[in-house]
Symmetry: C2
Subunit: 450 residues, 2 copies
């Protein structure tokens, strides 16, 4: 049976299986979802076995269990290791969701739910392509699966798991569907990822909240101080001011800048889609360069003082921020993390104490486009989407890609099927069902051509 | 019976009455305490009548009811109007309270509770002095009471109430206990108050939370923008940069600066009490000048993005701050409020929209120290605390003082009995019970000398 016919006949069942995963709120960042992590891992084991894996189990790690599955047909044939994650991001602010984030809702050809794309949806694409290849008896390689439960909190247990189970995870190619394409009509394969460093900053002023009338103007306010500090991390040219920050950044080659200029991109539509009057960023770079080849600094969260109803006048004791840098290939996240932790306190005005806590980080990654598995993926995409995919660096971070490279010594092909409009990490995350189908066709093509 | 003996005999009852007020969580800033406001107003009516008022009722206003009470003995005698407020501040962060904020706890000679000082405790001082004078048949003036329920949210209904009931509130002197003294051993009367202007700022970037990997560096982050904006409001010399901000500020007269220098003040102890390494503020002014005679800018609250557990990477859609300026006599809060609302958007980087919403405000105030009622208060304090009180400008704001001056045409004497260590507006608010007693003696003295 042809793959599109297979999908057509099996779609209700596939969506049921997908929904069974979505209904488990496997939020790794929130401790009270511990049991959901285990339920979600076990559900994946069932689905992997149903799809044809000979073995699938939730294995213990230092943190949430890691799902391992395999179908080994011949030790002489190449082995593909499919990576995904079964954890999802928190869902706040809940009031902005048009439907329950943990109850899939299909509207206008899209399935809405937390994890619809990232990464339960993309993992379903992988598993359903594997199922088809299996049932058609077309499998010509060994396949292993590793689905972790801590990707959204920086994969703290994955590296030690890989080191411990190096033989089990032995493979020739890693295949990951956790990235996005340039557009529905512009399929692309991700050839570069940004690295990440993440910190929490705590600024302490007085030992208790003070009355701003009695103390205001005479005692440094820690929120005023925090704003002063954070305002200095990016200068007026959009450059990050951490000493040594750009030392290891390789300039973007002119050839690559030329390729980026060829990517269909309409700045007007881009601004309209996110409803901003203007874009902003590092001087001398285009939007597509800024969000893929150049590093960035974002305050991901800030809080302090009176944040409730009404107009309480207070000079608070503490102020906090969670901040992150996206890094580019060749920047070392450990070095950047240290440089930042040293730098931030030097920006503080007198009268406050500053504590910088590194949270997590990951290295950037570049994939060679003349590598055979990359070529197989390119052919798969051409079959799935009807046109040759572009090679593109993307701005997100999957720190584990460089972990795999370092620990297992294997490179990764990033066959990602997300779209910007899928709103991952945001309210109303969704997956375009046409892309979902084309994605399965693409991965089937990958198996045919590898 | 001598007043100290009277207090000794009646203290258990007085504390019971005080506790009955504290147990009503009359938080005006939180809408779900609406019924508590009414209960607290009614409880005050009972207590005023029990203390000797001929009439006491909770009168309707545009907002929470306003308690009015009176004892009129002779229209030819002068009339004192005692102002207080029965509303209290919110109690967050609750985990920092050592005992329930709404259940009084006496420890080491202090009574701990929200409102122990501000202003249920200070109002009890007034009412118990009135009770004594009454029971001893020593009242030689008419007394009126007005206790409002919206002081902590800027008294939005008081001005129209005063205008509507101008005849009812007719008086010669307004007496207010809602300020603090320099120290337990350094009694002082407040002769100046700062004004206030308060705003909420909303910065909007993209129309939804974005993935900081896919958009970071290319789209202005509204928290980054908010920090950039707020960091520019105070310059490196501690001067506020709002155009025209200092135009109407009168220089502090050298004579007053000299008097301020004579106030016992130990900077080391001050820093130690609030546990800061250094003080900060406007260059060229001392700490006591900065917190009383000079304006200030404080960020009272800030929030945006991911403020929960874990390390979510997000480029949020919105960021918010609540900010306030303390103003000094002669600055007009309406003018400052407008100037600020015009200025803030000019500081915004491109790619965000800024909305400034004025919340509330009040004018500053200065009390003449050669005024007879001021002198009576001075004598009362001398009897209560055993030494002549200093005249001092204070940094807080009681916007209604200038409202009274404008609407009723009457000046106010500020007989305040707070201490810095009373931690008003903070966790573990408290009242020193020795000061509480001395306070009652002082107000009794005021009645004797007026």
């Amino acid at each position: 049976m042809e793959i599109r016919e297979y999908i057509k006949q099996n779609l209700p069942r596939i969506i049921d299986e997908w929904a069974s995963l979505i209904r488990i709120p496997s939020i790794s960042a929130e401790a009270d979802h511990h049991d959901d992590m285990i339920r979600c891992a076990n559900r994946w084991c069932e689905l992997l076995k149903a799809a044809g894996a000979d073995r699938a189990e939730a294995m213990p790690s230092d943190g949430n269990p890691i799902v391992y599955g395999e179908k080994l047909i011949d030790p002489k044939l190449p082995t593909i290791l499919v990576y995904s994650h079964y954890d999802v991001m928190p869902v706040a602010p809940l009031e902005l969701w048009k439907s329950d984030p943990f109850e899939p809702s299909v509207r206008d050809g899209r399935l809405y739910a937390r994890g619809a794309d990232d990464d339960k949806g993309q993992a379903m694409i992988q598993v359903k392509a594997f199922e088809y290849i299996n049932r058609m008896n077309e499998l010509r390689c060994n396949v292993k699966f590793i689905f972790e439960g801590e990707e959204e909190i920086g994969s703290p247990s994955l590296e030690s798991f890989c080191k411990k189970h190096k033989d089990l995870l032995k493979c020739d190619t890693i295949l990951v569907s956790d990235t996005s394409m340039i557009g529905k009509d512009t399929p692309s394969l991700t050839t570069g990822l940004r690295g990440l460093a993440y910190w929490e900053i705590e600024v302490t002023g007085p030992n208790r909240d003070l009355h701003s009338g009695h103390f205001g103007g005479a005692v440094m306010n820690p929120i005023n101080a925090l704003c002063k500090i954070l305002s200095q991390v990016v200068d007026d040219h959009g450059r990050i001011t951490i000493p040594g920050f750009y030392d290891k950044v390789l300039p973007v080659p002119e050839a690559e800048r030329e390729m980026i200029r060829q990517i269909p991109f309409n700045l007007g539509n881009y601004k309209k889609a996110i409803d901003v009057d203007d874009v902003a960023g590092e001087e001398g770079y285009s939007t597509l360069e800024r969000n893929s080849c150049r590093p960035s600094f974002d305050i991901c969260g800030i809080w302090g003082g009176h944040t409730g109803e009404g107009s309480k006048t207070v000079l608070p004791s503490k102020a906090y921020a969670k901040v992150s840098c996206r890094l580019v290939a060749n920047q070392d996240h450990h070095e950047i993390s240290e440089a930042f932790a040293k730098y931030i306190p030097t920006l503080a005005p007198k009268g406050v104490r500053v504590k910088v806590t590194p949270m997590h980080g990951g290295q950037g990654y570049v994939c060679p486009i003349d590598w055979a598995p990359y070529r197989a993926a390119e052919q798969g995409f051409t079959e799935g989407f009807g046109k040759k995919p572009l090679a593109a660096r993307r701005g997100g971070s999957i720190p584990i890609i460089s972990t795999f490279e370092q620990v297992l010594g294997v490179k990764t092909v990033l066959m990602g099927f997300g779209l910007e409009s899928n709103a991952i990490h945001s309210p109303n995350e969704n997956m375009d069902l046409e892309v979902f189908e084309n994605g399965i066709v693409s991965v089937v093509g990958f198996y045919h051509h590898i």
